[in-house]
Amino acid sequence: MEYKASILVVDDEKSFWEVVAEGFELRGYRVVAAMSGEECIEKIKTDTFHIILLDLQMPGMGGIRTLEEIRKMNPEIEVIMVTGHGDIALATESLKKGASDFVEKPISIERLVNTVEKVCEQRMLRETVLLYELSKVIFSTIELDKLLKIIIDLTMKVLRADDASIMLFNEKKELYIAISSGLDLDIQKRTRLAIGERIAGWAAQNKEPLILINGLRDDGRFSDFKGRSEIQSAMIVPLLKNDEVIGVLNANRIKLTENFTQNDIYKSKIFISLVSLALDNANLYNNFKNAQEKLEATHMQLVQSEKLSSLGRLVSEMAHEVLNPLMVISGNAQLILMEGAQTDQVSKELKVIIDEAMKAKEILQRLLKFARTNKANLRKADIGQVVESVALLVERQFAANKIVIRQSYAKDLPHVHIDDKQIEEVCMNILNNARDAMPDGGVMEISAVRNGDRVRVDFKDNGCGMPDEVKERVFEPFMTTKEKGTGLGLSVCYGIIKAHNGDLKVESRQGAGTTISVYLPCMKG
């Protein structure tokens, strides 16, 4: 049955509260009576009241002291002091001590009801304002991390909890602790619950909030779980979006002697739905950001492939004899040199012309190599051995440049299906670049591990690294920061790895070194 509110009448005069009880019950309120201050305190420990009508003059624990005790336990219950004639001073004092209002005996039921209703309205107004403020705060940010922090702080305040945590679902649909106040970091990290598992899991599965008092021992549902013994009472609320569970909110009271009650659940319904809404928004935003990032990456890859294919087309258009003009240049220069009639200076310059013509040929041939879809000779190989053989080749030169090579290959590396020569060229290229990045020496760490259904080989140097602008274009043809570079090395590597259905990735920070990762698919069977 829905009551308008629950009222606790505290008065040692039976006749008084009988009248009050009847009057209020008729109007749809629930009324409970207590005959003394002590009884009042006992009752509010285990029951929920919105209003307390408290007699100021009572034997034993008087009205003021009872008020003080109530306030210690629950700052929010509305307390209306019932004073006798001439108790104005005491009445005023009680207001200072947290009473909401006072009424003077003798009093008619109508006036009492009016007072109670007025107090209820004021309370609703305050709560509405609070919710408004809460929603402003909760929706102030869409970033999940910041939002979680805000929510946990508010939860502690609004629910008057000593510690609280929010659990969300990971990709495996397990509950994990997304944020907590005051929980042991170890507990936080380790907790992974499936739906239905343990208490939070139960709440998620049944989509029902729970209150647990004094641990799990006495609750038939969870008597075989071990809980945290210092918890006095706990509230576990599933966070719902439409009818779907998106997480669980846990709040614990350790110090506060007043247990969580159904009223706390009721009061926090709106807060909880605000929290669910905000979290859902943040999640959506997160997913959106992830999707955007993936789209960017795919777009970049597409652009790169497009570049590769258009370059391929360009090169085949160049099947025409692009090298002939170079021959004319060098040939004529050589003929002039043959005459012998020029000065030494002119001879020198003629030789430069010849050299540059030859160099142009080299560049063009590397360009061709890059654009050509090399027919690869694939065979089953142990990538560790292949990489190791290249490392052996450059070892001496590296040592001369004061670069130490460290290698570590995982023991259970699956085989790959590769063209040895091409992959060796890739490794060589990467190592040469690394050497150039460490002119004063350094360390090259080469490692190979299994990565899902691929093998990943990392080449990590602690050289000069690359600024972002260079890193973004590192696989482009003609991208070089070296004076004598053709800029084709890594783009050729990229083509080779892509032709192997693998991937080539670069991580780098200027001044901190570079890691090039080569991904190759494992051989099936």
């Binding site: 090169v315 692009v322 170079l326 040939g331 050589q334 003929l335």
Partner: protein, 124 residues
């Protein structure tokens, strides 16, 4: 005095090779296409060595080599190319018992070419 036939459809390159080998003491017979080269051969000219550009309209350097074999004329031949990808000629080269390694990409140092010619002619 040895005779070198130079077959290339690029006039400037033909001129350079003609000038160079003349100065180096050879008689040079130029041809601007595979067809012209075969005509010259049929008319009775027998060069001691042939320098052939591969890609030409009206008969490639490889066509000339085929023809020479059919005619029973087999002077040493040096293949040059101005394209950057001779890979497409791999099959035709195979039929002649040659491979990509027998092709020289232009630009070639004239003196390197001279050494090659001398070696092939047994002059070194």
């Amino acid at each position: 005095m040895h005779t070198i036939m130079v077959v290339d459809d690029n006039a400037k390159i033909r001129a350079i090779l003609e000038e160079f080998f003349s100065r180096s003491g050879f008689t040079v017979v130029p041809a601007s296409s595979g067809k012209e080269a075969v005509d010259i051969l049929r008319k009775g000219t027998v060069p001691n060595l042939v320098i052939l550009d591969i890609k030409m309209s009206h008969g490639s350097g490889l066509d000339v080599m085929y023809e020479m074999r059919r005619m029973g004329i087999t002077p040493p031949a040096i293949l040059l190319t101005g394209t950057i990808d001779a890979g497409k000629y791999v099959d035709m080269l195979g039929k002649l018992g040659l491979s990509e390694e027998n092709i020289y990409y232009k630009p070639i140092d004239l003196f390197v070419l001279l050494d090659l010619v001398k070696k092939r002619l047994g002059l070194v």
